[in-house]
Amino acid sequence: MTGTTVKEEIYLDQAKKLSVSFAKDAAQRDKEGGTPKQQKDAIRQSGLLNLLIPQKYGGEGGKWSTALAIVRELAKGDAALGHLYGYHSLFVSDIRIKGTEEQQAYFYPLSVQQQAFWGNASNPLVESLKGDKQLQGYLLNGTKAFGSGSPDSQYLWLSFNDRETGQYLNGVVPTDRTGITVKDDWNAMGQRQTGSGNVDFKNVRIEEHEVIRDFVENPTPFSTIGASLSQIILTNVFIGSAFGAIEEAQNYTASKTRPWLTSGVEKASDDPGILRKYGELWIQAKAASALADEAALILDEAWEKSKKLTEQERGNLAVHVAAANVFAGNTALDITSKIFEVMGARSVHAEYGYDRFWRNVRTHTLHNPAEYKLRTVGNWVLNQQYPIPNPYA
């Protein structure tokens, strides 16, 4: 990205260092699954978790475009950690999007002070967590699936339904609140260290000040941009994965690939087919990142406008983010599968774990269907209609 400030450069530099260190054992940790405790702690210590928290509450007051550049950088080394950082940033921001100023004032200083990582318990597809209204707050019972980042988190961003009225609400609770069990049972083919398993709630108290309901009482276009945030985070995880894959492949081809027996060249890195394929892969990745960078700037403007964001601006953001997301997803799928063609048969050995790139991308490109994102964009191009806000558009 162009036009970065000195401060942003420092953040990105930190992210780069973290990413390089994460890359070293990413293949091994992919095999093991579970929680990357040590790596999460390294992120905690870096201070990057506070990037989006306003300065008045002790944070860095950074921009979303910076947070996304960090996501991309981390994902280059390890897509799971890029994901965890991105979703942490989303949940922290959700308070600002859907909650009150008082809730920011309450949670943000705590988060900064505790170097807190925020996790997820808010999958909107299934109404599996119910709240029974109390005099103050709710009593929560049920389960939430796809709880990315819930293991080793300090806070959980959750969604639940009022058992009586069906009302959809959000909330934030400390992860160690009595009655919460983070199952840590995520075992998928990719993004294996994102801890995206189930979170159980048994008679969990959520206090009134922890219940997020301002978006219900004072709905604005701004209060619905969470969908775009989650989509653009994933976009940057895909792009980071794609560049990470190209980088690993480049190292491999340059040092290990043997020229093909009828190639007539002395080094694989002079093979005309391999050269053009590297061009093709990199150009695709670069186009994806350029498109995502444009969307990030639109997001920065929207973030700046905050509650003043118009419906049209919200729609414009959603369309550009959907476009960037589906392009990056398809591109990353293609790249992470084709890198093997420039490395050769021996690159399948488990010691390298190069298949993790494809498995990671394939797993999280399924977050919501690419085809419906194409439709969202197409409906705007053809009919000038912005998407009706939902958790994915």
Partner: protein, 396 residues
């Protein structure tokens, strides 16, 4: 029953047998993909089934099945488990290599003992690895060194071995019993795909080779026929890829119908009514159908070429190679596309480790790297543009 009917009935029996085995294998395919290692139980089922003797002529105790049937069997197994199909296909390739490279006496002996004892063949043949040397010492031929990518060597009864003769450019081919002193099959295959093919290395330490084990025909370079071994290998790989694509598409279809929920903004009642899912399955099944048509053409050409034996001309060998290159290239591309695209229809929950649906992609990706698709396209292009036949190599 007349003769044609008899053949048809016996073919049906063979395919039925293959389907039964495939069904059995599919029950544990996920578990075995997770574990890797050697599928001893399944290898023994293959031994017991009698299918190891499938292409061996009846006069030597086999089924005498023609190549189209042999490929079909490999394909059926590949749909359920491409590792086992790989082992079986390479077994056929290896046994029948003795017909190509051995004397009449040799291949008869090998055919007979394979059929009567249900021997499983493996290989230590990788032409890109010159790490195995043959040395004559006191009139005795000894092998020392190692070979990589030796699919199916572990738990095999016979090995087809290629070695570099010391002090010459010559490659020596021989068949050895796997238990011969000095041969160690190493349990070091750890590819992310084709996990139970045991495609690791084999070590040789002062391994004696007897005269009758050496396949001398290999050196007679003027002959075209033996070089169709390449075609046979390429067609085996093609059928593996085709089976993987078929298996992936079928299994994903079952999943979509049983588990996938319609998308929130889709306005349909079942996932299989989703216009985008329908469109994707339309495209995938169309491409699979094109694979089948191309493979059928290539198999027919191969069958003709094989039957020519020593009368096979370079032109026919080359044109058959182009047809195979086309089938393989297209099938590899299709298999990679299908094994990745199936997830779009199935959705996020299909990534759960319990299903191991990613094994299809991992298997296809692994097999498709056997030799570069780019060079297959080059062969096809040179043939189309300049009527140049593909160079005769272990891969084309």
């Amino acid at each position: 029953m007349n003769n044609t009917q008899t053949i048809a009935a016996s073919q049906e029996k063979i395919l039925e047998l293959a389907n039964q085995l495939a069904k059995e294998f599919s029950k544990t395919a996920v578990k075995r993909d997770r574990e890797g290692g050697t599928p001893l139980h399944e290898r023994n089922l293959l031994r017991k089934s009698g299918l190891l003797a499938l292409p061996i002529p009846k006069e030597y105790g086999g089924y005498g099945a023609c190549w189209p049937i042999v490929f079909k069997v490999v394909n059926i197994i590949a749909k359920a488990d491409s590792s086992l199909a790989h082992l079986l296909g390479y077994h056929y390739l290896t046994v029948c290599s003795t017909f190509l490279f051995g004397s009449t006496k040799q291949y008869k002996t090998f055919y007979k003992e394979t059929a009567s004892q249900q021997l499983f063949w493996g290989n230590a043949f990788n032409p890109r690895d010159s790490g195995l040397k043959a040395v004559r010492e006191n009139g005795r031929l000894m092998l020392s060194g190692s070979k990589s990518f030796c699919s199916g060597a572990t738990d095999s009864d016979r090995l087809l071995v290629s070695a570099q003769e010391e002090g010459s450019d010559e490659v020596l081919l021989c068949v050895l019993p796997t238990h011969r002193a000095g041969i160690v099959t190493e349990d070091n295959w750890d590819g992310f795909g084709q996990r139970q093919t045991d495609s690791g290395s084999v070590k040789f330490e002062d391994v004696i080779v007897y005269e009758e084990e050496i396949l001398y025909k290999a050196a007679e370079e003027q002959k075209v026929f033996p070089t169709v071994r390449t075609h046979l290998a390429q067609l085996m790989l093609t059928h593996l890829l085709y089976g993987i694509a078929q298996g992936a598409l079928e299994e994903s279809k079952a999943y979509v119908k049983a588990h996938t929920k319609p998308w929130i903004s889709s306005d349909v009642e079942a996932a299989e009514q989703d216009p985008y899912i329908i469109q994707q399955y339309g495209e995938m099944s169309l491409n699979l159908h094109a694979c089948s048509a191309l493979i059928e053409k290539a198999v027919t050409e191969f069958d003709h070429a094989w039957k020519k034996e020593d009368a096979l001309a370079e032109q026919q060998r080359g044109e058959c190679g182009v047809a195979i290159a086309m089938a393989k290239t297209f099938t590899a591309k299709t298999a990679l596309h299908i094994t990745s695209t199936i997830f779009d229809g199935m959705g996020a929950r299909a990534t759960s480790d319990q299903y191991k649906f990613d094994r299809y992609w991992r298997n296809a990706r692994t097999i498709s790297l056997h030799d570069p698709v780019a060079y297959k396209l080059r062969d096809i292009g040179k043939w189309y543009l300049s009527s140049e036949l593909p160079p005769i190599t272990p891969y084309s």
